[in-house]
Symmetry: C2
Subunit: 204 residues, 2 copies
Amino acid sequence: MVQGKTPVEANDGKTTRQRRNQPLVIVNSGAGKGKSTAAFGLALRGWNQGWSIGVFQFVKSAKWRIGEQSALETLAEVHRDTGKGGPIEWHKMGSGWSWSRKEGTEEDHAQAAVEGWAEIKRRLAEETHQLYILDEFSYVLKWGWIDVAEVVETLQNRPGYQHVVITGRDPHPDLLAIADLATEMTKIAHPFDRGQKGQKGIEW
Amino acid sequence: MVQGKTPVEANDGKTTRQRRNQPLVIVNSGAGKGKSTAAFGLALRGWNQGWSIGVFQFVKSAKWRIGEQSALETLAEVHRDTGKGGPIEWHKMGSGWSWSRKEGTEEDHAQAAVEGWAEIKRRLAEETHQLYILDEFSYVLKWGWIDVAEVVETLQNRPGYQHVVITGRDPHPDLLAIADLATEMTKIAHPFDRGQKGQKGIEW
């Protein structure tokens, strides 16, 4: 990506600076790999800018601790110890959200998703983070656990400078319609297709 | 991605363990965002596994220091100081490779690319890293600076357990043909299309 190049000229009366610093809704979808990985890669950029970052993993199993979590939590420790970079919080739905006392089970994922979204709404209103990663959030919309109209309204009216990245297959069209940046990861070839199993470092 | 699920059964006489730990050639292509970002996200997983990681940025300008470099170099420092995670080296072609005494200029990029590839070949032969990220390497093949047949032969015959990720648009068909995992990042919507400029934390 070439820095700062725009294929069309904006005609919106804004200054370059105003156009440059726009909070984005970003959607990474598709059947290919890289939806979450690219989101976590973006967290590296945000960390380096000193942003506060909140990661919210929907759907993933409680026991599932992916390498990105360890690595990003290490960067969060560096921030706490030295002030370098920014703070990163990592929250998982699977085992019950960290702010909730309840232990989650497989059965009450729908309610956990609703609670997770309520917390994200609160944080957006309070402008807690500059970057939110709602990992696999497309599915909770697809399954009707959370009302897409409410999500769209909340994202469109969020105050201040807050980027929101949503990952997962089959994003709702109403969500895609308000995305500033939407990328579909398309599979060309995948080792699973020829019987290769998932392996550490690549899948988690 | 569901862990360990394979849609087809392999019939290659290998054990599950052998099939699980296969070194991969990974190609992230397409006009959308996330090619490099997903590669650097994968580096987080590799770091967490304690892998040695080598990043080789082809093409990018010398002055261009992206957030991922700072963040991954911070993780490399943590590894040096505490033993946590793995080592990460970051090399850029733009200003002359770090192992070369020469200052590069815009004019001798082709030669710098050849030198970079020669170094990567040496490291593959010596099994220096478990994960190589050849960022924007597709372009040096496209421009004919490096012979694709030699790259394909080297990758196919590399010894041991070494993953290689190549990013960039328009990957050569011969490269795609040997990719174990190939994903195309397709643009659905992009802020540049409506005059939005690149911004810190998102584009770099």
